[in-house]
């Protein structure tokens, strides 16, 4: 091998590494620097104190974590159901896959508004329930006082919008399970539940791990769906970060929020890796 040939892959990778260094590593580092400075630029814990002492701090953290904890299991079940349907190779499989994948390219803001049209007081849900005679008067779903109802409708909207990515990852994982395994289980009389529990889930572990990590990190950043649906009834962490950066114009507190979200994301990732360890031979 010539020396030139050895260098080629590195030359091809260099632009992307430089870009990632400038647009990933630098902002991440400066995020922490900003968070540990006051607006005058001196080192202090002032910005972090301001973040924590803000009356919206615990509201935003609790609402965001609640959303993550509720939405992830819902999405896991939905994504698994969709993936099993796609993998079942029913007639029109590509159509099912296309429909389930549609939300993949839908923006969170658009998704939020789509569900506003359903949950608003004179919206689709009340229209349908009233036409069917199930309710007599429109229910106010998006009431600022009904906290858990708000959580519920955001969960529905997020499940609608962001399950596709998990589904796609799980379908790819399912297709890597040899058919013989499932056939063998079926020959021995395993029910669907037993096949899922004893064959599919253990073999799907690497895909589950990736899908969960990706989805949890994205769920921690829940933003536009919550704003569109909840208004002032509920606030989430990204919304607070945006508020400090734009409305209050204090990048240091905004950076403290960003740092907090990064730490939560890392803890959640470690948690998934710890709960769902993947053996080396499965990783290949």
């Amino acid at each position: 091998m010539t020396r030139r040939r050895n260098l080629a892959p590195y030359l091809l990778l260099a632009p992307s590494l430089l870009f990632l260094l400038f647009f990933f590593a630098t902002p991440m580092a400066s995020s922490f620097v900003l968070a540990f400075q006051d607006p005058a630029g001196a080192w202090s814990l002032d910005s972090i104190e301001r973040m924590v002492n803000d009356p919206n701090f615990s509201r935003a953290v609790i609402a965001t974590l609640t959303l993550v904890i509720v939405v992830i299991p819902v999405q896991l079940v939905l994504a698994m159901a969709m993936a099993l349907v796609v993998n079942k190779r029913l007639k029109g499989t590509s159509l099912w896959l296309y429909v389930y994948a549609l939300p993949l390219a839908i923006s969170e803001l658009a998704a939020g508004i789509v569900w506003v049209s359903i949950f608003t007081q004179r919206g689709w849900l009340n229209s349908i329930l009233e036409t069917l005679g199930i309710i007599e008067r429109g229910v106010i779903w998006q009431s600022a006082e009904a906290y858990w109802t708000l959580i519920g409708i955001i969960v529905v909207a997020e499940a609608w919008r962001a399950t596709s990515i998990m589904m796609i990852i799980l379908v790819a994982g399912l297709q890597s399970i040899p058919d013989e395994y499932l056939e063998a289980a079926e020959v021995y009389g395993a029910t669907l539940w037993q096949r899922v529990r004893r064959v599919i889930l253990p073999m799907l572990r690497p895909s589950l791990q990736v899908a969960l990590i990706l989805r949890i990190i994205l769920a921690i950043q829940v933003f536009a769906t919550a704003i569109a649906l909840a208004g002032t009834g509920l606030t989430v962490m990204s919304q607070q970060a945006l508020k400090w950066a734009n409305d209050i114009d204090n990048d240091h507190v905004a950076a403290a929020w960003a740092g907090l979200m990064l730490i939560i994301s890392i803890v959640a990732t470690i948690g998934v890796l710890w709960l769902l360890p993947v053996k080396d031979e499965q990783q290949a």
């Binding site: 892959p9 590195y10 091809l12 990778l13 632009p15 992307s16 590494l17 870009f19 990632l20 647009f23 990933f24 902002p27 991440m28 995020s31 900003l34 939905l78 969709m82 190779r89 029913l90 029109g92 499989t93 590509s94 296309y98 429909v99 994948a101 549609l102 993949l104 390219a105 839908i106 923006s107 803001l109 658009a110 789509v114 049209s117 009340n126 229209s127 349908i128 036409t131 609608w160 796609i168 990852i169 379908v171 790819a172 297709q175 990736v210 990190i217 994205l218 950043q221 933003f223 536009a224 970060a241 945006l242 950066a245 734009n246 990048d251 950076a255 960003a258 740092g259 994301s265 290949a284």
Partner: protein
């Protein structure tokens, strides 16, 4: 480590519906057992189709409803209870949305930011994808790990320090600034997607061209590139829609020159519901088209993450 395996052909194969012969080929059995078994098979198959349908309706019905909401004629906008069957299709709401101050400008900014993102992320990402697909070299696994990790990074964490940096270098509140941020988000995808595209093109073809006298660069341009074009197009479209959909980074990095989602976000609290519905519909249309165009590559785009 053999590197990425082409997922797309395997996926396509697996998705082909079974032929009629396969469906009918049940082993011969004694009549009573067989009847019981076919009855159970039928029941199970009905359950599967029912599940498929319910899940599909969950996804499709809201899209239909926003279409009806956005195209309701102005005089019927506040009818209640609404009729699920459209009373008429009108562009009143959409016209009102488009006429709102700054919407058309914001629309074009979104389009341009997306295009810059496509050019940058493929221009920087495709060579890296090619290197991952074609070369075995030290640090390859490490690089893959970096790319996989950066794909999951929170946009909130990047955009806030970037806005500070942008103010210093003078690209705050510009389309270029937004596009650079979107490139950072899209680059990991661009690398992984182009990598899986190039790995599915046999290396031998390029080598054959070289033995026939092509230079390596010419062999790439004349042989591999044309074959990779459909996959690269899918990657470009996907990258564009990542940029088109972003709202948080655009809201942080712009002020007077927002992209379309950022423009819509700032009006969200004051805007009338019909205006919002039209906005959601306009944002949604490209997404639906994009998924339709790249549907063959869906599993290839995303499914490969495990490997």
């Amino acid at each position: 480590m053999t590197g990425p395996t082409p997922a797309a052909p395997a996926a396509g194969q697996a998705l082909t519906p079974p032929s009629p012969q396969e469906l009918q080929a049940s082993p011969p059995q004694a009549p009573p057992a067989r009847r019981k078994r076919t009855w159970r098979a039928l029941a199970s198959s009905i359950m599967w189709y029912l599940a498929a349908l319910v899940l599909a309706l969950f996804i499709a019905v809201p899209i239909y409803l926003i279409f009806v909401s956005a195209t309701t004629p102005a005089e019927a906008t506040y009818d209640y209870p609404k009729s699920v069957m459209p009373t008429g299709i009108a562009t009143d709401n959409i016209e009102a949305f488009v006429r709102a101050a700054g919407v058309i400008d914001a629309f074009w900014r979104s389009v341009v930011a997306g295009l810059i993102t496509v050019v940058l992320s493929l221009g920087i990402g495709a060579p890296a994808g090619y290197a991952l697909a074609r070369y075995a070299f030290r640090g390859r696994d490490g690089y893959r790990l970096v790319v996989l990790a950066t794909r999951a990074f929170p946009v909130v964490i990047l955009s806030i320090p970037l806005s500070v940096m942008y103010r210093q270098i003078g690209i705050f509140d510009t389309v270029l600034g937004v596009a650079l941020m979107h490139t950072a988000l899209a680059l990991p995808f661009a690398v992984l997607i182009t990598g899986s595209v190039f790995v599915s093109i046999p290396r031998e073809l390029e080598e054959a061209a070289q033995t026939l006298g092509c230079s390596p660069a010419r062999a790439f341009l004349r042989v591999s590139l044309p074959l990779a074009l459909p996959g690269l197009t899918a990657a470009a479209i996907f990258t564009w829609v990542l940029s088109w959909n972003d709202v948080f980074a655009a809201a942080i990095l712009t002020l007077r020159n927002p992209t379309l989602p950022a423009r819509i976000l700032t009006s969200l609290t004051q805007a009338s519901l019909p205006w919002q519905f039209a906005a959601a519909f306009i944002m949604l249309v490209p997404s639906l088209i994009v998924i339709f165009i790249i549907r063959r590559y869906l599993l290839g785009l995303w499914g490969r993450v495990v490997k």
